[in-house]
Symmetry: C2
Subunit: 285 residues, 2 copies
């Protein structure tokens, strides 16, 4: 099976209501008097990073991609469970892990470790506490809302290619945890941009049952000559959200479009309808 | 690094108080008005199962080993986060996963999937809700307590070797979830027997600051001619616990010894002091 087939098959298993049908970035459920938010992301050698990668950066990014999911839910990090297959430069891995857990105040809760037998795999289950209700989801964009994105899109691409000023955007991405919490109470929908701005916008529009019309001239990209690549490459870990255009956005963000009644495509880039997701970003297949 | 070195290094990272110093089977912490219990266990091809293993059994066991940790905390399962690297017979894996999640009423909460690149690795983070307070731990055995174990020790060994009547004990172990909940309010200490009865008893005695004296004639083993192997081999997923010897034990269990003041060794098997853990069971190294 490929990943999409496996995911479809998982949806037939007994699912917790908090799993949101496995269609959101996190599980969300009431526990006691609070709301718990959970995510689990893996990173594997040869898929998410090169065998010669700096392992401190790999550990940082492992924490960051999980916390980016929590950020999209406006969650306050509680802690992380770690799964590790040991391999090359475990000391470096530990140093990057320490950096990320410390900076984002997300202490270790536990985990499991196995001796490595080949390509390494790392996983984190990150737990967070809801800070607003309802917890933001991909559904909820309303016709007339503005579409916004934090930061600059495409920096990870340029960092991956070796441009020094964008190096950290790829190797040490900074999940928008505090921005997510500030935005939580006012957004109508929110997700993090991990697989490419267009693909993630397409998904959020579909989940909300509306059409997003993006203005390509408004999208803040790291290299305007390479707009098409910047909006498709992914790995940016910025926040994409919709909100009433009259609301005061409490963090730096750029309005890049407007929510319309559902039309011929979930997403328009200027006048171009983007019907199918195939060419819009990174798809797990 | 080997696993013990890595674990020691993890203890120097920022730890959540609920991590219990990474010295217990689960993380335990208050969340809202309740107590959350978390565990994370991995299974890897070539380490925990043979490359030709039945993948439905592998999935079952992955769930079972995690739920066994929850059982040792008297926890009620809430759900599971799954991490999967795809590989051989994903359909079989899914069927065993469905079986185990259904039988133990532990629905899927979410997870992540990656394309396989070699030997497969699977991980589950299982969440549970405390059903009694204090939540049982490895610490707490009192001098004069009885030492008890559920079930029969060594069945997994015989099942691994191919004896038909013990086959399921190795391939489809049944975590003692309901037994754990029944025992929770009356035990002074509890853990699950995953790495071998002697090794796990040694650890619990050490954690409790006492000496356990086991009577080898009382230990229920699957093959009395192979007692030494049965009490060392592990993978049994029974519950080991201590309790006031006058208490009425609400589940089938056998008293196998008594808790004494700390002596020359944490553990005695009959008259033999077992000072060092090296030869007592399965050690991750």
């Amino acid at each position: 099976m490929n990943e999409l087939e496996f995911l479809a098959a998982l949806r037939d298993l007994p699912l917790h209501p908090g799993a949101r049908g496995l269609e959101d970035d996190c599980a969300v459920f009431e526990f006691g008097s609070e709301t718990l938010i959970l995510t689990h992301d893996l990173m594997a050698e040869g898929i998410h990073y090169e065998p010669e990668a700096n392992m401190a950066d790999v550990a940082w990014k492992l924490v960051a991609v999980n916390l980016s999911d929590l950020a999209s839910k406006a969650a306050e990090p509680i802690g992380a469970m770690l799964g590790v297959s040991l391999g090359r430069d475990d000391t470096g891995f530990l140093s990057g892990l320490r950096d990320a857990l410390s900076v984002y105040n997300c202490p270790l809760l536990g985990g499991d470790t196995i001796a490595g037998t080949g390509a390494s795999t790392f996983g984190i289950t990150a737990l967070g506490r809801a800070t607003c209700h309802p917890v933001p989801s991909r559904k909820g964009s309303k016709v007339g809302d503005g579409i916004y994105v934090t930061g600059i899109i495409g920096r990870a691409l340029l960092g991956f290619e070796g441009q020094a000023q964008h190096f950290d955007a790829f190797h040490r991405p900074q999940p928008r945890v505090s921005e997510g919490r500030a935005l939580g109470p006012l957004v109508s929908a929110m997700m993090d941009v991990s697989d490419g701005l267009l693909l993630d916008a397409w998904r959020m529009a579909r989940a909300s049952g509306v059409t997003y019309r993006l203005n390509p001239e408004l999208i803040p990209v790291a290299d305007s000559a390479r707009l098409d690549e910047c909006v498709r490459w992914g790995d940016d870990y910025e926040l994409l959200f919709t909100a009433d255009p009259d609301s005061e956005i409490p963090v730096p963000a750029t309005q890049i479009g407007k929510v319309e009644h559902v039309g011929e495509a979930p997403l328009f880039l200027g006048g171009t309808p983007l019907t199918k997701p195939g060419s819009l970003g990174y798809r797990h297949g």
